[in-house]
């Protein structure tokens, strides 16, 4: 039973100093802000863990899920633009919105099924409807939204082809064309739920960085959805029709940037993964791209090339936000610091759940 080489699992807390002993390493880890300035010493907190292993488990989700968060938001915003454009006589924007929504939601569906451990059992989602499960709620939202957005998008795709297709399929296409308006409006009514429920999907977990973002994340996500879909509208529609897309994009970008800032300020130590590692890189990229896109749409939105470039920036920024928040959450679950320290602080403030 050699204690040499065996790392010490746990050690005294701050009030119980560790004696330095041969073969036993002090594995206390320092937390809090890194010292930028020797004069500005932040009192370091101390925490203990079991061999530095995670307390909670990171989700087993891979790129499918953040890709879905982005595409779901893109589809939702595109349905809103498509419906609005249909009502205000903007045929190119309408067509772009409806086809974008169909494409984005179809890829989303594939990503969601692919992410399952047993993809062949995806229909088991329809066994129950549970308000305590954001994934169950989301399944039902998509079950309503998918066919509506699908019908509107399919009508836009098929109607121009009707003349070239055999006579037998023309009546169903004509019917689809007549249903496109109501279906598109229906999709637009459900769309905001598609864009915002995905925030609860992340925050309703024990993953520290997601959970502590719970008050703000829905607003960040709808802002991100508006920016991405507005950006796509600017990319696909001529500037004469793209006014609403520009305004939606700009409003979304400002909402996303503003609320994200407030969110980080409210998160304490669990905001750290949004600045470090992969999550940090993505969040910085997201801010840069979103600011660029917002400026571009504000000052160059009436220039076709500038509008397209700004739109692409906004879409990329939105994707970076989703991947950044996803990665930051995963990192926060893998490091016991983000689970233990906030809970200890809660206990010390007398605000523990059991107090």
């Amino acid at each position: 039973m050699s204690q040499h080489g065996a790392e010490l699992a746990a050690e005294g807390r701050a009030d119980q100093p560790v004696q330095s002993q041969d073969g036993i390493r002090d594995r206390r880890r320092r937390i809090g802000k890194r010292r930028r300035d020797e004069h500005q010493m932040v009192p370091d907190a101390v925490f203990t863990s079991y061999y530095g292993r995670p307390v909670v488990k990171a989700s087993p989700w891979e790129a499918d899920i953040p890709a879905y968060l982005f595409l779901g938001g893109l589809a939702a915003g595109s349905s809103l633009l498509g419906a609005g454009a249909g009502l205000t006589g903007r045929p190119v924007l309408r067509r772009a919105g409806r086809i974008s929504a169909l494409t984005a939601i179809s890829v989303s569906f594939a990503a969601l099924v692919h992410d399952l451990g047993r993809p062949s059992r995806f229909v088991n989602m329809l066994r129950v409807a549970k308000p305590t499960s954001p994934m169950s709620v989301g399944t039902w939202i998509l079950t309503v939204y998918g066919p509506l957005a699908g019908a509107a998008g399919a009508a836009e795709l098929l109607t121009p082809l009707a003349g070239r297709l055999p006579c037998s399929v023309r009546p169903p296409i004509r019917l689809l064309g007549r249903l496109a308006g109501p279906a598109g409006l229906g999709a637009a009514v459900v769309a905001p739920a598609v864009a915002s429920y995905t925030a609860v999907l992340l925050t309703h977990t024990s993953t520290p960085t997601w959970s502590s973002a719970r008050k703000h994340l829905p607003f960040v996500f709808v802002g991100s959805a508006a920016a991405a879909s507005g950006g796509l509208g600017m990319l696909l529609a001529p500037v004469s029709e793209a006014g609403p897309a520009r305004r939606l994009a700009l409003g979304g970008a400002l909402l996303e940037l503003g609320v994200e800032r407030a969110m980080e300020a409210s998160m304490g130590i669990t905001a750290e993964p949004l600045h470090q590692g992969t999550g940090g890189v993505l969040m910085r990229a997201s801010k840069t791209l979103t600011v660029l896109g917002a400026f571009g749409s504000l000052f160059g939105g009436r220039n076709r090339l500038a509008a397209a470039l700004s739109g692409a920036c906004l879409m990329a920024g939105s994707a970076c936000t989703r991947f950044g928040i996803f990665e930051a959450g995963q990192a926060s679950a893998r490091d016991p610091k983000y689970t233990v320290v906030p809970q200890r602080q809660r206990i010390e403030r007398g605000e523990s759940a059991g107090a």
Binding site: Q3, G5, A6, L8, A9, A10, Q16, V18, Q21, F47, Y50, Y51, R53, P54, V55, V56, K57, A58, P60, G77, G84, D115, L116, G117, R121, N124, M125, R127, K130, T132, S133, M135, S136, T139, P192, A193, S196, Y197, H204, T205, S206, T207, S211, R214, K215, H216, P218, F219, F221, V222, G230, R247, G252, R302, P336, V340, Q343, R346, A353, G354
Partner: protein
Amino acid sequence: MPSLSGPLHDPAADAGWQESQPRKGFFTDTSVCIGCKACEVACKEWNGVPDDGFNLLGSSYDNTGSLSASTWRHVAFIEQPRTPAGNTVSLGMPSTVKPGEAMSPDSATDFRWLMSSDVCKHCTHAGCLDVCPTGSLFRTEFGTVVVQEDICNGCGYCVPACPFGVIDRRVGEQGTKNVGIAQKCTLCYDRLGAGKTPACAQACPTESIQFGDLDELRERAAARVEALHSQGVGSARLYGDSPDDGVGGAGAFFLLLDEPEVYGLPPDPVVPTRDLTQMWRHAAMAAAGLLAGAVAAFLGGRG
């Protein structure tokens, strides 16, 4: 809708069982755990749980690592510098002196060993069960939480939902039993139905793992912690026994000799569902904001 958080006397009845059994649970008294891992082995054998890899982790005698889809009991080993005198319990461990002969103070080790057999907590308010979108995870008539392996589609949502990091999706080669779906301790649901003791408790040679009706286990645990305190073991404390904690009390709770995080347990676990109403309210506000924003984008401005 069932209760979302806070104390709840009968989770089985809350889940809709009309004739529920007394709530069953585990009291794991780590002060008498000798780290034999009989619980890990018995669990694997009875439940047919595949191996979790054969690794040397360099963490004392713990080469299992943590609870996972294929580890439903996990014995933690912690080597600590000796805490102030009088804070240890004699476990009757084999020693180098003859029986009856006192050990000289000089020969005493300068560190103590903590051992603890971790397991699913079978929470009163179970995060895993709340988020399960297929109904695969369910509350049994014994108040425990069990995965129905033929229903689970491996969405993985229960994994980040658990505040204790217990449940996981099984990884392995195609053909591995239940690969791709969520797995965890069932409190030996099959044995309970037959009036038997769960395999880990049955195998435990020191009664560190005690199984029984939760009400009775709580009384027994309170008496045990009091006895330890009177013997001078001030560091003994119960973990997960209080119905007022963030998960409404655990069905499987522990007597620990140090802070929970020393054993890899969260010091103040909370079921995410506690804040569910607030989260849905914020999501609804955000959705309404997006709809209003889109309407404004079409109504406001030129072009």
